[in-house]
Amino acid sequence: MDAVKITHVTRTFGNVTAVDDLSLTVPQGSIYGFIGPNGSGKTTTMRMIVNIFYPDRGEIRLFGEGRPETSTDLIGYLPEERGLYQKMTVQALLEFYGELRSGRSVKAEVATWLDRLGLANRASDKVETLSKGMSQKVQFIATVIPEPKLLILDEPFSGLDPVSAEAIRSAILELRRHGVTVILSTHDMHVAESMCDYILMIFRGGKVLDGTLSSIQDQYGEDTIRVTANGGLAAVQHLPGVEQIRDLGQVQELRLTRGADPQEVLRALVAQARVTSFSLMKPSLHDIFMRIAGPAAEEANHAIA
């Protein structure tokens, strides 16, 4: 059964179309990553799934059901703009959110999660005394108590230090192992590549990419070369069949023009510099993102317009 099925959903705010005729199916037990530039419609889509916004047109079904009011009981939602009652203690706050969602006492779950995320000794402290990272962990716990069937996380790693981010990442993966379906939005392409079973890219309210990472990459083929050569960026200038160079510092990423021969590029490169590594690969998600929404794409869109 699909956890979420969105069919031709549109949502407008005044004259702005935030989500335009979006259709999407999220399989149960998967991790679905939403990517896209700011203002592209990711948060609006998530808010519609959570029932905070109603679609102007189209339909959203959760676990095969229409949209009964009780559907939000199945969802744990972590909004992008997070806020907690600062004057409450951590324990009281988490019990409040847990009871609000489940209608029962969640003391045991609160204790388990506080222990798991290293906050057990802060249970009786007021939220206002916590660091930003700790507050984010508390907010995450508030989202997953009691364990939801569907977890919707809007930018769950933003502002977290690597240790806290790793703790949250491992918690998300464990929840998925328990059968929880996860939808998360992120601007970190590495997170999307490494964590998500499926990736949706929304751009200007519309779906531009949807599928597994490899299926998305297959659409572009092996048109990327990753090179390390003496001379760095200077060594890869003016190569035949290369339309764009991305300088990563120690490594350079070259995008081939359509139909270009990688062997020709290698020959030209060896002729002008000492090459220590050369690999032909599919484009990274970051590269695909930039091709769709980067400045070059913007210029191209303007030119067409």
């Binding site: 905070i52 972590l78 909004p79 703009e81 806020g83 907690l84 009871e99 989202t143």
Partner: protein
């Protein structure tokens, strides 16, 4: 609507509010003001200021002052000492007769000198009896209208002017009406050659006592006699009840505006909306405020009961009004809290909320402007119409119901029906505005936009 979500939100808001210092301070201060103030009044009533009170009299008639001095002597003899304990229980009034000045310039200087003596607290007041004060008044001079500070000027020659800088209720001025009237009548009769000094009681005015109506008990047929009605019964109890209601409603609903704005500006609201619908969230918050209001009202009612007992006017409080008090309290708090939630949802910053606070309090403030008119004519057209306009019904209908003559039996029920319909409509419209506005940032919407949200959702 999922009840457990509403109750959880209400419980949190209620506990958070009643634990704040502001709430506890308000709870302590209000009963102290009502109950403690009344007890203090009652205590001070038994310990009056016993210092002599000097009043100067300029008498242009040459005869009224003597009658006044004689009357004040009798008053002192009558009221100065307790008849059983022989202890002084009232201040002594000492009237000093001052000869009128010879000319206009001297008169002005005399008034200024006496005013300076009042300012220096040597005198509590002085009065000037006009030279034609004994002349029988023309019909057009007579007016029993309540003077509310109109600019109508008394003719100094025919009237009596009382000069003082004392504020509030001036007992001596009220008392003076009697002996001055008696003195004037005696003097007029003397001018006609009729001497009744041997029996001054002949000119004294009989006392007019306010009475209730004689009633027949509908069940037993027994006729209940009329009872004497005090001014307090007609004014104090209804006024106090209306003021207490207005205060509890304002204290209960104003924090709602801040609470919603705070939840919104601190980004808490979206997390809550992930677990509860906007309607559940708003209803929970309204219910929490109702709980806060009921808590404070119970304490205010206890303090009020202490106050009326301390003042010895407990019998004046019509007990049948208490259920109405709570019905109006609950409907008014629900109505205003829903309104506050919608306003709070439209605000992005605490500053926006402060600017809109006055709009929220209008249903309590507007009835205050009509209180004097309603108290004077509780069944007049204005009082009736205003008390049937739903936002004003709770305060004004309660005020009218608590007055001795009450209101026609149908009016509270029609008023209540209007209030219930209006409160339901307010909650419905507020929840639609709340849902649309709660996640919006930026400038608060214009009225037309808010109305559109309420209509279309």
């Amino acid at each position: 609507m999922r009840l457990h979500k509403v109750v959880t939100i209400a419980k949190r808001d209620y506990i958070t509010t009643v634990r704040t210092k502001a709430f506890v301070f308000g709870l302590v201060v209000a009963p102290v003001l009502f109950g403690g103030g009344s007890i203090a009044m009652s205590f001070l009533k038994g310990k009056p200021d016993l210092k002599d009170r000097h009043v100067a009299v300029i008498d242009h008639t040459g005869v009224v002052a003597n009658a006044l001095v004689s009357a004040v002597r009798e008053k002192n003899d009558r009221e100065l000492f307790d008849k059983k304990t022989h202890q002084q229980i009232a201040p002594r009034y000492v009237f000093e007769v001052v000869a009128p000045a010879a000319n206009a310039e001297g008169h002005r200087a005399q008034l200024l000198a006496l005013s300076d003596r009042v300012r220096s607290k040597e005198l509590v007041a002085f009065l000037e009896i006009g030279k034609d004060a004994l002349r029988p008044p023309k019909p057009s001079d007579d007016s029993d209208d309540l003077d509310l500070g109109t600019s109508k000027k008394t003719d100094p020659d025919t009237g009596v002017s009382y000069y003082t800088n004392a504020g509030g209720i001036d007992e001596i001025r009220i008392w003076l009406n009697g002996p001055i009237g008696d003195g004037a009548r005696l003097a007029r009769l003397a001018q006609l050659g009729i001497d009744i000094n041997h029996n001054k009681g002949l000119v004294s005015s009989p006392r007019v006592d306010g009475m209730s109506l004689v009633e027949r008990d509908e069940k037993t047929g027994e006729v209940h006699e009329a009872h004497k009605r005090s001014e307090l019964e007609g004014f104090f109890v209804p006024f106090a009840l209306a003021m207490i209601l207005a205060m509890i409603v304002m204290v209960g609903s104003a924090p709602m505006l801040q609470s919603v704005t705070q939840d919104k500006s601190q980004r808490i609201v979206e997390t809550l909306l992930g677990a509860a619908s906007p309607f559940e969230l708003m209803t929970g918050k309204v219910l929490g405020s109702v709980g806060v209001s009921v808590t404070s009202s119970v304490l205010y009612v206890i303090a009020g009961t202490v106050a009326v007992n301390a003042l010895g006017v407990a019998g004046l409080l019509p007990l049948t009004i208490i259920p109405w008090f709570y019905v109006y309290l609950l409907t008014d708090v629900i109505m205003l809290c829903a309104f506050a939630a919608a306003l709070g949802a439209c605000c992005s910053t605490p500053q926006d909320a402060q600017n809109l606070a006055i709009v929220l309090l209008m249903p309590c403030i507007i009835p205050m402007f009509t209180l004097v008119t309603v108290l004077r004519q509780p069944n007049g057209v204005l009082a009736t119409v205003m008390s049937l306009i739903p936002p004003f019904t709770p305060i004004l209908m309660l005020l009218r119901q608590a007055m001795p003559n009450g209101v026609p039996a149908w009016q509270p029920w029609v008023g209540l029906f209007d209030v219930l319909v209006f409160a339901a409509g307010t909650v419905w419209a507020a929840s639609r505005i709340f849902r649309v506005a709660i996640l919006m940032q930026g400038k608060p919407p214009r009225l037309a936009e808010a109305v559109r949200w309420a209509m279309k959702g």
